[in-house]
């Protein structure tokens, strides 16, 4: 075996082996990099240096800010305001609460970039409410969990920032804009399903509010939703960078929850900081070690070898995109989304570029695809949280989830093969 071959085996085999043996992902990435660096006679200092430099990034600064905005708004009670807002919009339709769930998640996605946070906060209101109105617990969980994928597609989205970083620096604003149409398309697909289910299973309409009540609800939710205008307007209008707009959004979210919603207190503030530390600590550890890992991957020319191999199998872009999608769907069922974006982007993006796929478009494909994995067993985090709230076993939700999976895959196929869905809006604002 050549030195390169052994190096690749050590790096990839070590990573997978350590991960199977329960070593936390961040440390599996780090330790396999260390061992490979020693074998290749690279200075071991390189690992520490790559780790520090991987985090020394102005773009990444947006991630803690977005996590903070999401946590502040959630603790500050944005979720129940958004739920009521969604009910005002679609509650009068058949299956109104299920439709409202999808709509609320779509808006929540504009504030928080995490699908798990979406399930935890929107779900803790809507799953019990849906059960009370006679929806089956399995169906309530299925709607909540699948609609949470909006959280990663509708900007702001931490996962898009990971992608931009792993791709070696893409314009965040363009990537954010590219997520809107696919996100809304997914919402529409899910809402059609909810309507069909409502007709077949005779689901009730949701609550309706009088005109003045409705206006009040819309007003209260809009104050929170203005965060979206700050972030997206700021970036698209060229006023702020993504990082700056996120910092402004943190300050705005604090002002709203302290002075307008009047829901913030010291205890909540502590919970926000503790929650941010727990989720951010996990993320930054992976960002840092995957930066060393990614360096070794390209040092060993793994992306080139793999893309040569794949391109020798088929030169048809559609076939290759299909293969990549299937690979990602399988990996997404087994592993965490953020990790996969950081590890797989440097490997797969060169292939995508070679067959003429725009990097922005490829990012959206990847994020939607891995978003589906968040809703599937065995390691779908959103699914686990949703089942916890709904108090149902994961196996029992699968029948209810099946039509939703099919809808998501259908949207994935559309997004994969119609680049304009992702790039249209992004290029329009260029």
């Amino acid at each position: 075996m050549t030195e390169q071959g052994v190096g690749i085996a050590l790096l990839l085999g070590g990573f997978l082996g350590l991960m199977i043996l329960r070593v936390p992902v961040a440390f599996a990435l780090g330790m396999s990099s260390v061992v490979t660096a020693i074998y290749l006679d690279l200075p071991i200092l390189m690992v520490g240096q790559r780790m520090v430099n991987g985090l020394f990034s102005f773009t990444f600064l947006a991630v803690p800010f977005f996590i903070l905005v999401g946590n502040i708004m959630t603790e500050g009670g944005i979720s129940d305001r958004l739920v009521k807002f969604a009910e005002v919009l679609v509650g009068r339709f058949r299956g109104g609460l299920a439709q409202g769930n999808v709509v609320a998640s779509t808006f929540f996605g504009g504030i928080s970039g995490s699908s798990v946070a979406d399930v935890a906060s929107i779900g803790s209101f809507l799953i019990p409410a849906m059960k009370k109105r006679g929806y089956s617990p399995e169906y309530s969980v299925a709607v909540t969990v699948t609609s949470s994928v909006q959280g990663v597609l509708i900007p702001p989205s931490q996962n898009m920032i990971y992608y931009a970083l792993a791709a070696g620096g893409l314009p965040i604003g363009k990537l954010f804009l590219a997520g809107y149409v696919p996100g809304v398309l997914l919402s529409i697909a899910l809402m059609i399903l909810c309507w069909l289910a409502a007709v077949r299973q005779n689901h009730p309409t949701g609550d309706t509010y009088g005109l003045w009540n409705s206006l009040g609800i819309v007003g209260r939710a809009s104050v929170g939703l203005f965060t979206i205008v700050i972030i997206i307007g700021g970036i698209v209008g060229g006023v702020f960078t993504a990082t700056e707009s996120a910092a402004v959004a943190v300050v705005y979210a604090l002002l709203v929850t302290v002075f307008i919603y009047r829901t913030m207190d010291r205890q909540k503030m502590r919970r926000i900081m503790a929650g941010t530390l727990a989720s951010l600590g996990m993320v930054v550890a992976i960002i840092m070690t995957s930066s060393a890992f990614g360096f070794l991957l390209s040092y060993l020319k793994v992306p080139t070898i793999l893309s040569d191999y794949i391109l020798s199998q088929s030169s048809n872009p559609a076939t290759i995109l299909l293969m990549i999608n299937i690979l990602l769907l399988v990996l997404g069922m087994l592993m965490d989304m953020g990790v996969l974006i950081l590890v797989m982007t440097p490997i797969l993006l060169p292939i995508a570029i070679k067959i003429g796929v725009d990097p922005i478009h490829f990012g959206i494909i990847m994020i939607l695809n891995l978003g589906i994995g968040v809703c599937t067993p065995p390691v779908g985090t959103s699914l686990m949280v949703g089942c916890g709230i709904g108090d149902v076993k994961i196996e029992r939700t699968l029948a209810a989830l099946l039509p939703f999976y099919m809808a998501m895959v259908a949207v994935l196929v559309l997004v994969t093969f119609i680049p304009a869905l992702s790039l249209g809006l992004a290029n329009f604002f260029e």
């Binding site: 350590l18 991960m19 199977i20 043996l21 329960r22 070593v23 936390p24 992902v25 961040a26 440390f27 599996a28 780090g30 330790m31 260390v34 071991i44 200092l45 390189m46 690992v47 520490g48 240096q49 780790m51 520090v52 985090l55 020394f56 990034s57 102005f58 990444f60 600064l61 803690p64 800010f65 903070l68 006023v239 702020f240 990082t243 700056e244 910092a247 402004v248 943190v250 300050v251 010291r266 503030m269 502590r270 919970r271 900081m273 503790a274 929650g275 530390l277 727990a278 951010l280 600590g281 996990m282 930054v284 550890a285 960002i287 840092m288 592993m335 965490d336 990790v339 065995p378 390691v379």
Partner: protein, 174 residues
């Protein structure tokens, strides 16, 4: 559960105190990062006088935050890991894997600590380009984070705290 020897208990208390300090340092750093970045926007748009140092200062704080938070998450078992196979192995086998994982964390942290201290030496008197902040401050974070991970991994092993306590509330030191 048997009571732990008092030496181990004192070690755990000492390490937990260090973690509380690290935790509140992290919270202050995060507040500082938000404040500095927000200030930069205000200075640029309202006073039309952008600063040169603020981006680098915020990024430096972020690296420190990251290293400390990584260490704290080791003690609190917040790092994601695949526990599927461990759970298949039953009690003893599962325990062996838990210890093994912590030993790997320990080894990696030693590498981080070592390379951090070397990088501090190598940085010498170099400065970060925009802000003029000494570059070794950046690499001290790797040294400090590595050291705290080493302590946390050892403490987890000797106190037998090897997996998350499902009923624990997250710690909320301000």
């Amino acid at each position: 559960m048997l009571a732990l020897p008092s030496a181990i208990q004192s070690l755990a208390r000492f390490v937990d105190m260090l973690n509380r300090i690290a935790r509140s340092a992290c919270n202050r750093l995060l507040e500082l990062i938000v404040a500095v970045t927000f200030m930069q926007v205000v200075l640029r748009y309202i006073f039309n006088s952008p600063t040169k140092w603020s981006e680098e200062a915020a990024m430096l704080c972020l690296v420190w935050y990251g290293m400390l938070a990584t260490a704290i998450c080791v003690r609190d078992h917040h790092h994601i890991a695949i526990v599927f196979f461990r759970d298949l192995l039953g009690k003893t086998g599962g325990y062996v894997l838990d210890v093994f994982a912590h030993l790997i964390i320990l080894c990696f942290a030693l590498v981080l600590l070592f390379s951090g201290s070397k990088l501090v030496d190598l940085a010498g008197v170099a400065l970060l380009p925009a802000s003029g902040i000494p570059k070794y401050l950046l690499y001290y974070s790797a040294f400090t984070g590595g050291a705290l991970i080493v302590l946390n991994a050892i403490t987890n092993i000797v106190t037998g705290s090897l997996r998350p306590d499902e009923f624990a509330e997250p710690e909320t030191t301000s």
